[in-house]
Subunit: 370 residues, 2 copies
């Protein structure tokens, strides 16, 4: 006899909000035995009603507080902008609900630590949406490395594009340009990628970072405004992994007409290249090629140990579905297989270390050769 589905309430769900609607909804609908999407709370009741109707959900709640208080909701999914995470997640935890919160967990490390402490206290299943460790391509890469495809990993290098954080944005995305919102390129684009790196290659040992800001203002394309921007548009990280491999990462704001995601892994016996359309290994389709020993040319790699991605789901929705699968097991069995708020805190700590390192950089003397 199957157990009753876990009843999910969304805070911040809008068919126009591409992420929640295109990744979370298909993910949950692919897991019908485990989950039922009950309803939604948005900023206004009207918006919630519109969403509920469009997505065919039972309930439109008048406010997040009403959703959180509802006895019909077991799991509160928070897919709003980062500055609202703390208030909504802590309210949900205090109400005894399980929570799935999008990454970043908090607006900065302190908020994240406080939320994780709350989750430990309430014993809720508190899941952080870091799908860098559940994306099918990353799992595939991890299995290849674990199987010894490249031998001992000597180095890894990533050149990636963040999509946002360059000289232009939209009114809706402008909050990404304001550091006060905790939604910078290093916390979002790099953060998700750090998770993927650690999942496939192991933990970081030491890292050092340099940030560059070429744009101090940003053009808002839909309003023609020019607004201040105080977050970096170039994020460079270099260091060592715990296995002593060298790591170099360069995230650039905006989009390149050339490389948007290149992740090379070099080992004693082989080399792997992972490529994709953007620096979000948890979202885009990853192509994996490799060569080892006497191979001279990279060829597509298929990894037999791979978890097959669900058919009909995009890579992004598939990675989210994998998190929900684990969350369902955790809620039912008291396990902690899905990424937890404590994992989220560790990632915040790593990003904080990167930010502190970048901030400590002194402007050097001019170094010239010509």
């Amino acid at each position: 006899m199957s157990k009753p589905p876990i009843r999910v309430g969304f805070i911040g769900l809008n068919p126009n909000n591409k992420w929640a609607a295109t990744a979370h909804i298909p993910a949950l609908r692919s897991l019908e035995e485990d989950f039922e999407i009950i309803g939604v709370a948005n900023r206004t009741l009207e918006s919630a009603q519109r969403t509920a109707q469009e997505l065919n959900l039972k309930s439109a709640f008048a406010s997040p507080a009403e959703l959180i208080a509802s006895p019909d909701v077991d799991l509160v999914v928070v897919t709003v902008k980062v500055p609202h995470h703390f208030e909504l997640v802590s309210a949900a935890l205090k109400a005894g609900k399980h929570v799935y919160c999008e990454w970043p967990l908090g607006n900065g490390l302190d908020e994240a630590r406080e939320l994780a402490a709350m989750a430990r206290e309430t014993k809720s299943v508190a899941v952080i949406g870091t799908q860098g460790q559940t994306a099918a391509g990353v799992e595939e890469l991890k299995a290849l490395i674990a199987d010894g495809y490249v031998g001992q990993v000597l180095s890894t290098s990533i050149i990636a594009s963040g999509g946002n954080w360059a000289g232009q944005t939209t009114a809706d995305s402008y909050y990404l340009s304001d550091g006060a919102n905790g939604a910078s390129m290093q916390s979002i684009a790099l953060g998700h990628t750090l998770v993927a790196i650690q999942h496939a290659l192991g933990n970081f040992d030491a890292v050092d970072a340099t940030f560059v800001r070429n744009f101090d203002t940003v053009e808002i394309s839909d309003t023609a405004e020019v607004l201040p921007k105080d977050v970096p548009d170039q994020v460079m990280v270099q260091g060592r992994l715990a296995n002593s491999a060298a790591i170099s990462i360069h995230f650039r704001g905006g989009v390149s007409r050339g490389t948007n995601f290149l992740w090379e892994i070099n080992g004693t016996e082989g080399d792997i290249q992972v490529t994709g359309d953007m620096g979000y290994p948890q979202i885009v389709k990853l192509s994996i090629t490799g060569a080892r020993l006497d191979d001279r040319v990279l060829a597509p790699l298929e990894c037999k140990r791979n978890r097959s991605p669900a058919e009909n789901l995009s890579p992004a929705a598939d990675a989210v579905a994998e998190i929900y699968k684990r969350a369902a097991a955790d809620i039912r069995n008291g396990t902690r297989t899905a990424p937890t708020f404590d994992n989220g805190v560790a990632l915040h700590e790593l990003i904080n270390h990167i930010e502190v390192s970048a901030a400590a950089k002194q402007k050097g003397v001019v170094l010239s050769f010509d």
Copy 2:
């Protein structure tokens, strides 16, 4: 009426020493109006005689000292291993000769400074072989950037292979693995590349580096010995150029079956990719592709302002020939158009800064997420 050719004597020339024989000799022979290769001095007279015969040169000198003292030699070319540069170059300068010395100039910054001071005193034309600024592909790139192809440069990223400095080498190349010889990956492979970067994109502002050594020993393939190695096999540099663009460089020892040279330049209006078979932009054939404005796909770029490389010369020999052309003008006209020892000192200073920065890195706390 043409002037008499400048008479060149080589210290360290051997048909089996691929670099001098395959780059310098064809370069000079393509400039017959300007140069005559008089002869050679090697470690033994026999070796010099063998080389002179094979390459059809007039003179085999019994020793470097004899070559330097010969009234038939105007320009002494030093193409021996780095530890011998100081003694040979300073002897040539003291004898009043012009000098072409291969990069690195000195075994470390202090030697380079002393040699440059000597050259200033003797007023010799003292040329340093940093062809990163004369390679046709780099000139082409420089012209594209200067023409505004990418608009304002926002960032540049390089992933490259050093060829040497991994876990295996040959007896003849083992000296590269011993830091005491001043021939590390950061001084040779990275050094030449830094010159190319500065030539195309402008000076460095601030840089920071991390070195990793995965191999503490090196297998000597032709003798089956295992010998110590104390130089890094992973060299990472990140920082800003003087124009504020972000720069990230990752040189890996050995050869990758994937990326061996990828140099991407991203600007406000376009993107350029430079690729080649190895991280030596002054030697390998560089392919340049780009896209700008509404272009969606990178396409080969031809730069109209480009100096056409000499026909029949390899890219490496062509870049060396360009240095010799300038050296001829400098010797005849008292100009300083070829890279000088002072330029060499500036490059040594930049590399020294990189080495100091890397050495200052503390082993960090273990940073984990999983």
